[in-house]
Symmetry: C2
Subunit: 222 residues, 2 copies
DNA sequence: AAAAAATTTTACCATTCGGTAAAGTTCAGC
DNA sequence: GCTGAACTTTACCGAATGGTAAAATTTTTT
C-alpha cells in the first residue's frame, strides 16, 4: 500500500499524545507517531477496523510491527487515538454556527466548511463513514453525547431562525442530515464518482461545491 | 449474530444460482442457499468483506462452516453472488426513468423509488456503501460499464428536459449524485441518525421521505 | 566516553481464519 | 426397503494475524 499524501496535510499529523501519561515526546517519538497515525489513517479509512492489519499499517509507516507496538499497545489503541482526534475536528464546523449571525450566511458557511472538509480530508471522512456504516460501535458515546447535544442545540437555533422568517420552514434535523449527506458524499463515495465519470473528469469534486451551494441556497430561501 | 428479518424480504431470498452449472436445485439446496445468502448479507453489510468471517456467516445461517463451503466454494464466491444479484436491483430505479414521461414526475418517481430501497433494503444499501467507501475494488467493472452507460444516458435525458424548460438548469450528474446522497444516507448512516436522535424518534427514516421529496420539488422547479 | 534511557530487531507464540479430506448420515427414486 | 446421490459432520491444515520477550542497537545525558 503506497501513499505519499503531503498536501493537504493529514488532520492528525501534529498530534502529541502521551505514550504513557505526560512525557515530553522526543524527536524520534514525534516522527514515528506521526508516521504511524498517517499510515493508520490511510489503512483504516480504506479497509475499516477489522479489515486492516498491523502489518499493513507498520509497512505503510515504514517501521516494523513490534516497533509499532512499542508506540501503541494495540491495534485498538491506534484506532481510538485516530478517531478521538478526528471527532473534535469533525464537530467544529457545526459548533461554529453562530446563533447571533444571519441565518442564510451561517448555514451557507456551514455547508462551505463541510465541503472543504470533504475535499481536503477525504480519508478522515471515509474513516468516519466506515465507522458509521458498520454500526458505529466504537463511537457510540461520541454520537449519543457530544454530537447529539450540539445537534439538538443547533436545531433549536435553526428553528428560531425559521420562526423569524429568515429561512424556509423545514425540519431542522433533516436539514442538517441533508447537509451531511450531500457534502460527505463526494469524499465517501469518491470511488464511485470517479469510476462513473472516468472519461469526463479527473477531480471527483469537480463542480461539487458550486452545485451543492446553489442547491442549498434554493432550499433555504424563505 | 441474531437476525430474523422476514419483512421486508431480503432482496436476494428467491434466487436460483447454480452450484455448478444448470442443475435444478433441490429443496434443501434452495433452503440452505437462501439462508446463506441472507446470513452473508447480514454479516458482509455490517462488517465489509475483509471484516467478515466464514464462521460468522455459517453461524448466522445456522449451518457448519464446511457445510457452507459445500454450497459455495469460497468466501469470495458468496460475496460475488450477493453483489451481482444486488447490482441489478440497484440499477432498476434509474433505468425506469422514462424519457417520454414528464420531467418532474419521472425524477420525483426516481427519488421515491430510491427512498423505498433505502427504507426497505438498508442492508443491501450498506453492503453497497461498504464496497464503495473501501474503493469499490470488486465492482469496478459494474461501475465503469453498466452504471456509467446508464448514468450517461439518463444525464442526456435530463439535459433535454432542462433544454425544454421543464426543470431548473443544473448539472445532471450532480443532480443524480445528490439524489443518491440524500436517499442512501438514511440507510447507510442509520446508526448515526438513531444515536443522535435516540430520545426523539424510533424510526431513523421518520420524516425522511417527506423532507427529501419536498427538497427535490424545490430543487427541480424551473 | 561511560552510563542510562530510548529505540529497534530477532525470534517467537497462541489464536483465528479460509479451506480440505474423508467418513458418516439422510434423502429421493425405484 | 434398497441404492445411489445429496448432504452433513468430524478432524484437520497452513497461512495470517495480533501480540510478546528479550537481546541488540542507537541516542541522550552526565
Amino acid at each position: 500500500m503506497e501513499y505519499t499524501s503531503v498536501d493537504p496535510p493529514a488532520l492528525v499529523s501534529q498530534l502529541d499524545m502521551p505514550l504513557e501519561k505526560t512525557k515530553p515526546r522526543t524527536r524520534i517519538q514525534k516522527q514515528n507517531i506521526a508516521a504511524i497515525m498517517d499510515a493508520a489513517l490511510e489503512v483504516f479509512s480504506a479497509n475499516g477496523f477489522r479489515g486492516s492489519t498491523l502489518d499493513q499499517i507498520s509497512q505503510a509507516a515504514g517501521i516494523s510491527k513490534p516497533n509499532l507496538l512499542y508506540y501503541f499497545n494495540s491495534k485498538q489503541a491506534i484506532h481510538v487515538q485516530l478517531l478521538s482526534e478526528l471527532l473534535d475536528v469533525w464537530l467544529a464546523p457545526l459548533r461554529e454556527m453562530d446563533p447571533q449571525g444571519d441565518a442564510q450566511v451561517e448555514l451557507m458557511a456551514y455547508v462551505r466548511r463541510k465541503l472543504e472538509l470533504s475535499r481536503n480530508f477525504p480519508r478522515e471522512s471515509r474513516l468516519f463513514a466506515n465507522e458509521i456504516v458498520q454500526g458505529a460501535p466504537r463511537i457510540e458515546g461520541f454520537l449519543k453525547n457530544d454530537l447529539k447535544s450540539l445537534l439538538d442545540e443547533q436545531a433549536k437555533v435553526i428553528r428560531t431562525w425559521m420562526d423569524d422568517g429568515k429561512l424556509a420552514r423545514l425540519d431542522p434535523y433533516h436539514l442538517i442530515f441533508s447537509i451531511w449527506a450531500m457534502t460527505q458524499h463526494y469524499a465517501d463515495f469518491d470511488a464511485q464518482i470517479r469510476m462513473v465519470r472516468a472519461d469526463q473528469i479527473t477531480d471527483s469534486h469537480d463542480g461539487a461545491e458550486e452545485f451543492v451551494e446553489s442547491v442549498f441556497r434554493k432550499i433555504l430561501a424563505p
